[in-house]
């Protein structure tokens, strides 16, 4: 399950960043991937659709969001937590 979440999140991000999912590691940041604000909103949408969760992300002030879109490892942890809260 854990590995599965990471894989699926990597696929969602890779699609937006136009890179191969394998190139994304735990320390890869959204800046490394060149994701702009619109692309980040699409990533959030993709995660919500894939895992049927609601991501508390505010594009007005990403830093103040409860959901951290920093590096890939943080994103995956955040998604896992949302899934856990749901069940």
């Amino acid at each position: 399950m854990t590995e599965d979440v990471a894989k699926r999140v990597a696929a969602i991000i890779a699609e937006q960043a136009l890179v191969e999912p394998e190139t994304i590691t735990a320390t890869t940041t959204v800046e490394d991937l060149g994701l702009d604000s619109l692309a980040l909103v699409e990533v959030v949408f993709g995660i919500e659709e894939a895992f049927d969760v609601s991501v508390p992300y505010n594009a007005n002030d990403p830093a103040e969001s409860d959901f951290k879109l920093g590096n890939f490892g943080e994103i995956v942890e955040g998604v896992k937590q949302l899934i856990a809260e749901k069940s």
Binding site: Q16, L38, V41, E42, F45, E48, S54
Partner: protein, 405 residues
């Protein structure tokens, strides 16, 4: 400062094809692009025909991530704008970009995006929608996208006046260049309303034909919707000549009026005043008008009123003038209609070929005009008008002259 305004580039997407050449070849052949709808399920529709731009697929022109931000209405506009700019050979550096307006007509904006997503939230009960719904559906999206691609930083906006949207937009762009406020303008219109909800709304008015669009024919039985975009590059004559551009025609006058009458039924006074204004604004006598691209929707009411108005305004010249409705071939593209029809008008002036009114079966004594039935005609046209009369009683008429060099 009053300057002459010329057209130096044209781009088109319509039911007759993608590109000026395909579109105007269709007009010259009297080819009807109206057919059974294939783009979506028509089972619950009473009207199952339209002028779909069937050969246009967004995937042929844009990447998947671009399409995420582009409703079909913006896709049409971008492709037509690219063609118009390429044809004109104009290149927008920063200085010219700041002196170029972008003004388009569109009545329904990103209707397909709205339709699809209302379905998702009201029918499928989805609780979230794709994040780009708003940037796709907003009416100004086509204008903003064109301004971004070509670096156009002057006045940029969309005019929305139903079936007159494009003519109003072209008129605004003409004013910007004529007054000297701008050196150039990208103008025209775009519409992509062919989706289930769009068709249903128009069905409701009970003005649509189930079989064909036959403007001015005694057998006419209603309008047929179309879709597409046409984009013109306008420049001041000085600017065009300074860079050695090929000139495709001159826009010399514009008239616009409101009926202040009824929300759907036209008056004769409003359209007549708009036509007279366009003539006087363009310093044209009725005797100079060789061709009128009619609004010609093929509803009983519009065509009768329009014929009467043409006779009032042109007087004796109404017996000689050629009048055609190209909606018979590309359908009624609502907010994009006037721009598609400006292309037919420019073709008549520049190429000397008057597009026919297709679908003509029987003369209507209430019309009594030369409606160029079914077959295009070769003729030298020195000046022409293009009429648009919208629901809501908003009338906009463009006057153009042949460019004689």
């Amino acid at each position: 400062m009053t300057r002459r305004v010329v057209v130096t580039g044209i781009g088109v997407v319509s039911a007759l094809g993608t590109g000026y050449r395909d579109h105007t070849d269709g007009l010259k052949d009297g080819r009807v692009g109206i057919a059974e709808i294939s783009g979506f399920d028509t089972e619950r529709l009473m009207v199952k025909i339209a002028g779909e731009a069937k050969q246009f697929a967004g995937e042929d022109h844009f990447t998947r991530s671009e399409i995420a931000l582009l409703d079909r209405v913006s896709q049409f506009a971008l492709i037509a704008a690219r063609e118009a700019v390429d044809q004109s050979g104009i290149s927008f550096d920063e200085a010219l970009g700041q002196r170029t307006a972008t003004i388009l007509g569109s009545a329904m904006g990103g209707l397909q995006t709205q339709d699809e997503n209302y379905f998702n939230v009201y029918h499928d009960m989805k609780n979230r929608v794709h994040p780009f719904i708003v940037p796709r559906l907003m009416n100004n999206a086509p204008v903003s996208q064109i301004s971004m691609v070509h670096g156009l930083m002057g006045p940029a906006y969309v005019v929305s006046t139903a079936c007159s949207s494009s003519n109003h937009a072209i008129g605004q762009a003409f004013h910007q260049v004529r007054s000297g406020a701008m050196d150039a303008a990208i103008t025209g219109g775009t519409e992509a309303l062919l989706c289930f909800g769009g068709m249903k709304a128009w069905e409701g008015l009970r003005v649509m034909s189930k079989d064909a669009c036959r403007p001015f024919s005694k057998t006419r039985n209603g309008m047929v919707l179309g879709e597409g975009a046409a984009i013109l590059v306008l420049e001041s004559l000085d600017h065009a000549q300074a860079r050695g551009a090929e000139i495709l025609g001159e826009i010399c006058g514009f008239g616009m009026t409101a009926d202040a009458g009824d929300i759907v039924q036209p008056t004769e006074d409003g359209p007549a005043r708009a036509m007279r204004q366009a003539l006087s604004d363009g310093a044209l006598n009725p005797e100079e008008i060789g061709y009128i691209n009619a609004h010609g929707t093929a509803t009983a009411m519009n065509d009768r009123v329009e014929a009467s108005v043409i006779k009032q305004v042109l007087g004796g010249q109404a017996e000689k003038v050629m009048v055609s409705s190209t909606k018979s071939m590309h359908g009624h593209a609502i907010g994009g209609a006037g721009a598609l029809e400006a292309v037919a008008t420019l073709m008549a002036l520049n190429e000397g070929v008057v597009a026919p009114t297709a679908g003509h079966e029987e003369d209507d004594p209430q019309i009594g005009l030369d409606v160029v039935p079914n077959q295009a005609r070769h003729a030298r046209i020195d000046a022409a008008l293009s009429n648009s009369f919208a629901f809501g009683g908003l009338n906009a008429v463009i006057a153009m002259r042949r460019w004689a060099g």
